[in-house]
């Protein structure tokens, strides 16, 4: 389960992004954090993948999760 590629599209200020990252950290999951505020390319990528502009967005091996959804994260990682 630790081998899945996890990407987190986030902004530095959003409380739910922080929660999401804390949750991944608590499970010992490594992830790539993309700051969609500072990085326009990442922002466009996130909008294309998720079809919307709210953060956070997770990409777990192609499975897109919008918002902090613990259950969906667990399922995608399983």
């Amino acid at each position: 389960m630790a081998d899945k590629k996890v990407m987190v599209y986030s902004t530095p200020t959003c409380p739910w992004c922080k929660k999401t990252k804390e949750y991944l950290n608590s499970k010992g999951i490594e992830y790539e954090n993309l700051d969609v505020g500072g990085n326009q390319e990442a922002a466009q990528e996130m909008i294309k993948k998720s079809g919307q502009m709210g953060v956070p967005v997770l990409d777990i091996e192609g499975k897109i999760i919008i918002g902090f959804d613990q259950k969906a994260i667990d399922e995608a990682l399983a």
């Binding site: 902004t11 200020t13 959003c14 409380p15 739910w16 326009q40 079809g51 502009m53 613990q70």
Partner: protein, 306 residues
């Protein structure tokens, strides 16, 4: 069985739990998030003891303070309803039902909707209710903030450093709120204030491309990629069932309380923005959490529970 269940973990709920823990009450906090609306605020300059602190940072201090005590915390859980039978409460969540002798409801508020065409359709597609969450994604873009009070000023100030231009749109003749914030907005060179202006519609293809407004009687379109709705908050109380009637709410949907934060149901208290308190401020919510918790302690001491 808990002595107290606190519903919500914003300033009111966390303060209630801290006071309860210090009275050695067996306490459980159930909340969808930590920090509530305070965690979504931008810059806070009126919480005594902190000349300046950001909302997320203040929320972190609240959380650290709470975790210092032996209080159980069910995070990411929301309270669907509360029932009272004889002298006991049952607090129902999606994951079951938990018993307690008293309850403090501190579930805060939710953003008020404008109720105009395009609002639901473009939610998270350029339209948002949370500047601190979604603001940075509008870097270099033109945006609109709808609202004429402190929440709108806060969102505008967060966006001035991010967006290329911010249109602040208010129905009122002028912006009302904190003079310091009004001054800061006035001094920003990329804010245009549209007073006497009604927002009629949000439009676009897949994402927002503009809004239609009526400014001083004439209709026009503003080309914006982001729309931030900041017209205040409405109370967010859970359903409460009670043998001899319903919990009393005020006209605005807030739980009616007296100066002791007591509701119409003995043993059930409300604090902060979910209650009929006249001022919706972080420091007021925290103070009410204290009043409610001390009320709980007195209620438990005078009532004989087995």
């Amino acid at each position: 069985m808990f002595d107290l269940i606190v519903c919500g973990a914003g300033p009111a709920g966390i303060t209630a739990a801290v006071y309860a823990a210090r009275q050695n009450l067996k306490t459980l906090v159930i909340s969808e998030n930590i920090g509530g609306q305070a965690a979504l605020s931008g810059d806070i300059e009126n919480y005594t003891g902190f000349q300046f602190i950001t909302g997320p940072n203040l929320a972190k201090h609240f959380e650290d303070h709470l975790r210092h005590f032996d209080v159980e915390l069910n995070e990411n859980q929301s309270v669907s309803s509360i029932e009272k039978k004889s002298d006991l409460f049952r607090v129902n969540t999606g994951e079951g039902s938990i018993k307690s002798r008293t309850v403090v409801v501190a579930t805060g508020g939710k953003p008020r909707r404008l109720g105009i065409p395009g609002e639901a359709e473009f939610k998270n597609k350029g339209l948002t209710y949370c500047a601190i969450c979604d603001g940075p994604i509008f870097s270099g873009k033109e945006v609109a903030v709808v609202g004429g009070g402190n929440s709108a000023l806060d969102a505008t100030l967060q966006l001035t450093g991010i967006a290329s231009k911010v249109h602040l749109i208010t129905l009122n003749r002028e912006i009302t709120g904190d003079s310091i914030m009004i001054g800061k907005v006035g001094n920003s060179d990329n804010v245009e204030i549209h007073s006497n202006t009604k927002t009629l519609e949000v439009f676009g293809e897949t994402f927002v491309s503009g809004i239609k407004v009526e400014e001083s009687g004439s209709e026009k379109n503003l080309d914006v990629q982001g729309v931030f709705i900041e017209i205040g908050w409405v109370p967010n109380p859970p359903k409460v069932k009670f043998e001899s009637g319903e919990i009393l709410l005020d006209k605005g949907g807030a739980i009616k309380i007296n100066e002791h934060c007591e509701t119409s149901i003995p043993g059930l208290y409300a604090a902060g923005d979910v209650s009929s308190v006249p001022e919706r401020q972080i420091i007021v919510a925290a103070g009410q959490g204290c009043i409610a918790s001390l009320g709980v302690f007195k209620y438990l001491s005078t009532k004989k529970f087995n």
